[in-house]
């Protein structure tokens, strides 16, 4: 009898009901565009030739540095701040190598008039906050405000690609960007 009970108990234990509670998802459900290439022009800001040139530049950057760089224009941020939309998009797309997190997205949202350079953790010492701020303020926004979307995105892209290719050490970049932390 105890033996039979033991077997029953073993059988019960051997088939655990692995009921998983649904993973808690505090993030709002956003409708991200599909990652169709190195340029995702959902907002339709780029001429075909501009798109091709940007894609070629991003491909060259990845060949040389392995960093993954994507240009994205978004029709609507769906009520999110661009900072919140941007990092979620980066995670959704899985830009950058796993564990290295070397992905960058140049994110342009013309409807909201917002631009952001979203940087994976692995590249924060290359594309620093002040560098990104300066590129947006000085290279991208002036052209965008003129309605020259292609020019602004191109200028921003050149700056980002240049920095990704830079052989300067992190310390040299920190000095160049006047980082304090």
């Amino acid at each position: 009898m105890p033996a039979r009970f033991a077997i029953a108990a073993l059988a019960l234990l051997a088939t655990p009901a692995c009921a998983r509670a649904p993973a808690a998802s505090p993030d709002p459900q956003l409708h991200f565009p599909a990652l169709t290439g190195r340029v995702v022009d959902q907002a339709g800001l780029l001429a075909p030739a501009e798109e091709q040139a940007l894609a070629a530049q991003a491909a060259a950057v990845e060949r040389e540095t392995r960093a993954q760089y994507v240009v994205a224009t978004i029709r609507s941020l769906e009520g999110q701040r661009i900072e919140d939309y941007g990092y979620r998009l980066g995670r959704f797309w899985g830009i950058g190598r796993k564990g290295v997190n070397d992905g960058v997205i140049l994110l342009v949202a013309p409807a909201e008039g917002k631009v952001r350079i979203e940087v994976g953790y692995g590249l924060e010492k290359r594309i620093t906050d002040p560098f990104a701020g300066r590129v947006i303020r000085e290279r991208i926004l002036p052209a965008l405000e003129d309605g020259r979307f292609g020019d602004g995105i191109r200028a921003g892209s050149d700056a980002i690609a240049g920095r990704l290719r830079s052989r300067a050490t992190d310390a040299a970049i920190a000095k160049e960007d006047h980082l304090s932390v």
Partner: protein
Amino acid sequence: MNRNRLLTAMIVPVAAISLSGCGVNSIPTAEENAKAKWADVQAAYQRRTNLIPNLVSTVKGSAASEQNILVGVTQARANATHVTVSPDQLTDPQAVQRFAEAQGRLSAAIIPLQRLQENYPTLQSQGNFKTLMDELEGTENRINIAIRDYNGAVQGYNTRIRTFPDVIGAKVFYGAKPMATYQATTPNAEQAPTVSFDTNTSR
């Protein structure tokens, strides 16, 4: 007697193996994950803490008359650095809340500092101030993301230790306690720390 011992000897490894398939081992994993996410929260706040002395000294150069804003920030920073939460204190909601409140007071003290640029054009033209503002903004953003990730990890862990069958392992093997989520508090300006002018503001 012998038989009972034999049964126990048989059941324990089987229980361990079968439960590990769906969770007992994943409880410490979830716990470690939440603790690692907490370390990210602290690191992001630390980054902000490190930024503030530079910010204060830059503002001092252009807006020296704004002593009480500067002293307020410096004091809030000093207070915030005294409140820490070790990984083992994450099960203590009050410890987590004390940390959040101290950081919230610092957040509130920083707001008038950020607004100074509207009144002091010389600040805006100072490249260093813009650089610091970019870093501050980026850091606040990292803090927000780190908090969301931490809260997500805590919810996952808390759900796991309360859900069958993990709840058995959580109680029997680990004595697991729920962890506290992080509620960022941004107190009103009225609740900002009181200011005294004779305080040494160098740190």
